[in-house]
């Protein structure tokens, strides 16, 4: 039986990718960030040893256009390309999928009344790419885990409710646990924390709100799932509304979780965070 062995929340910010590609790991402005991810990377490599990661992300006008915008889209392919966001592809290997596992997830989620868009092809932008090399070290041409991309609409309102995202996580857990193979599955929810990239409030960061989020997502995720989009956006910025993707991850964990690592840094326009959680007990969230 497959099982979820780690839950991670992580920001996705293009400038992190640029800093990574330009080897700014030791640059004073960036070192804190890379140091912040390092213990999680080690934990994943030495203890978690996941076979596959379900990574919850959003596209940023790269692959999905407004002609047809899905609420939830799931990759069901054998491999996924690194997208070109218009500045050339990042020097990262393409990603191996696990199509049989994806297919099982798709069948289970749709039977469970989640109306997924299913993708046989999907190129992945910084929403997906940012966290990956900070969490798993890529080789020259391969990755140490297979991936299942799960896209959430956080771009065009109506967004799915926080509650719906949390329920999707719960449904994912049921889907994973009904897969017959002994897969070790990590789930990563990306996005946020607070930021706003439009209007006179451009550049808004709310460090206090972010720090509360990092605690409450562990202790009381159901309360966070009840927040309206307006409440979240008012406090955390319009684009900070994407934190609902963390709720998918959290819904897939147990009711009680154990924190393995937490890091927060807000150098420029986004509250950057990484949070690593372990299941505790067997009661689903």
């Amino acid at each position: 039986m497959a099982k979820i062995v780690a839950g991670i929340g992580s920001s996705h910010v293009p400038s992190i990718g640029r800093a990574y590609d330009q080897n700014k790991q030791a640059d004073p402005a960036w070192q804190p960030l890379f140091d912040g991810y390092e213990p999680v990377k080690r934990w994943l490599e030495e203890e978690v040893k996941a076979d596959v990661v379900i990574l919850v992300y959003n596209d940023h006008g790269t692959e999905f256009f407004l002609d047809r915008y899905p609420t939830f889209a799931l990759g069901v392919a054998d491999s996924y390309q690194v997208a070109d966001e218009g500045y050339g592809k990042r020097p990262l290997p393409d990603f191996p999928g696990d199509a049989n596992f994806s297919e099982h997830l798709a069948n289970s989620l749709v039977a469970d009344e989640f109306d997924m868009t299913l993708c046989q092809e999907m190129a992945l932008d910084h929403g997906f790419l940012t966290a990956m090399p900070l969490l798993w070290e890529p080789g020259e041409n391969e990755w140490p885990v297979k991936v299942v991309p799960l896209l959430v609409n956080v771009i065009q309102h109506p967004l799915p409710t926080g509650q719906r995202c949390f329920k999707l996580g719960q449904a994912l857990r049921r889907a994973v646990e009904s897969y017959p193979e002994d897969l070790r599955v990590a789930i990563v929810g990306t996005g946020g924390l607070s930021h706003q990239l439009n209007g006179e409030r451009f550049g808004l960061i709310n460090e206090e709100w972010d720090k509360a989020w990092l605690q409450n997502i562990q202790d009381d995720p159901k309360a966070l799932a009840q927040l309206s989009h307006k409440e979240v956006m008012t406090a955390a910025g319009a684009e900070g509304g994407e934190v609902i993707m963390w709720l998918v991850m959290r819904g897939a964990m147990t009711e009680q979780v154990k924190e393995r690592h937490r890091f927060y840094y807000a150098p420029m326009t986004t509250g950057m965070a990484v949070l690593a959680l372990e299941n505790e007990g067997n009661t689903p969230a």
Binding site: G61, L66, Q156, N198, E200, R201
Partner: protein
């Protein structure tokens, strides 16, 4: 802030909902086309001709001519798409943001915790 946006009631914030998305569809479709290098070249070679290919309103065209990103936002442009236009014409994210705040780029940087992390 228009009546449409007032329904959200978040000051200084333009929530990209279906109403705004429909209004800005032509703008975002044009900007989306700029993910390809050959289209960026065509755009730079003749901005007016390129805009004419899409169904932009005169107001939207003027906002683009003026590089007025706040106005473009009000008219339905979505930053994730118009960043590609910004990249084409040499306006990056932070200068765009400073302009939307009504600040100079230098003043905007002063408001950041670690301005070196650009």
């Amino acid at each position: 802030m228009s009546a449409d946006q007032d329904r959200w009631g978040i000051p200084g914030t333009y929530v990209f909902d279906l109403n705004l998305s429909r209004k800005g569809y032509a703008v975002n479709k044009m900007c989306n086309s700029l993910r390809y290098a050959e289209n960026r070249e065509a755009y730079l070679a003749d901005e007016e001709a390129y805009m004419a290919r899409y169904n932009l309103s005169e107001e939207q065209k003027q906002a683009i001519r003026d590089r007025d990103w706040l106005q473009l936002t009000r008219l339905g442009g979505n930053l994730f798409f118009f960043l590609k236009l910004g990249a084409t014409v040499g306006h990056g994210l932070y200068p765009i943001g400073a302009q939307m705040r009504g600040e100079s780029y230098e003043d905007f940087l002063k408001t950041r915790n670690v301005p070196e992390a650009t």
